[in-house]
């Protein structure tokens, strides 16, 4: 399936892209992160430490083990620092 993947803050900077469209068969976000990490050294540096990452599926916060079936947009980012 095709998924739009968005990156924010230092994840975006390390990956070197704000977003990319990918084809994947990954079952969960955790699986997707492992796939994405193989794309470039920047991806690997951004995505290797899962504990430092947060994510959203179709613009809703979720955990890394959330299933990806039917998903259009996944965002990967550091812990939020609003307020």
């Amino acid at each position: 399936m095709a998924i739009e993947v968005l990156y924010f803050a230092w994840v975006r900077e390390r990956v070197g892209l704000p977003r990319e469209r990918i084809e994947t068969g990954a079952a969960t976000i955790r699986d997707l992160l492992a796939e994405l990490a193989l794309r470039s050294p920047g991806h690997a540096a951004a995505l290797e430490d899962h504990a430092a990452l947060r994510c959203a599926i179709d613009q809703k916060l979720t955990g890394l083990d959330a299933p990806l079936a039917g998903v259009r947009e996944v965002a990967i980012f550091p812990p939020m620092t609003g307020g």
Binding site: A9, W10, Q59, K60, L61, G83
Partner: protein, 152 residues
């Protein structure tokens, strides 16, 4: 619209206009870029689309939980110099406890669960992403005793 995301400055008096109608208590919180010695500015990145939805969601959650008569949230993104206003929460209720608690609760959600990321720009030009703080997570966890709240 009770939640706004914008790059421009905001006027707290306009944000709270009419909000006290029918209420007995109105609490506001304004976050300001703090002068910590060598900070020049903050840059705030956000997740367009999700941000607006998240702020509306957290505001509606606070309104339901605390029985608010009204609420407003404004959060800026982009570059802000030391001393500038970053964001504001305003909560109105019949009694002061509900208004205080709802503002406090909303701030905890915004700090740790709204899709904003701050970068500090120092006077020497260096920049660094602000790390999330354990105490912000602990502050948010105060509200979760007794029942689960929102996303994991």
């Amino acid at each position: 619209m009770a939640a706004r995301v914008q790059s421009e400055p905001f006027d707290p008096a306009l944000v709270t206009a009419g909000l006290g109608d029918g209420a007995g208590a109105l609490v506001t919180f304004v976050g300001i870029v703090r002068d910590d010695g060598d900070l020049s500015a903050l840059e705030i990145e956000h997740y367009p689309g999700m941000t607006e939805a998240a702020l509306a969601d957290y505001g509606q959650g606070a309104a339901a939980r605390f029985g608010l008569t009204g609420w407003r949230v404004v959060h800026r993104y982009g570059r802000m110099a030391v001393g500038e206003q970053i964001m504001m929460v305003a909560t109105a209720a019949r009694h002061r406890r509900a208004a205080f608690d709802a503002a406090d609760y909303l701030m905890d959600w915004l700090k740790s669960r709204a899709p904003f990321w701050k970068r500090e720009i120092r006077r020497d030009g260096s920049a660094a992403w602000v790390a999330a703080r354990d105490e912000d997570e602990a502050s948010l966890a105060r509200w979760q005793a007794g029942r689960p709240l929102g996303p994991p």
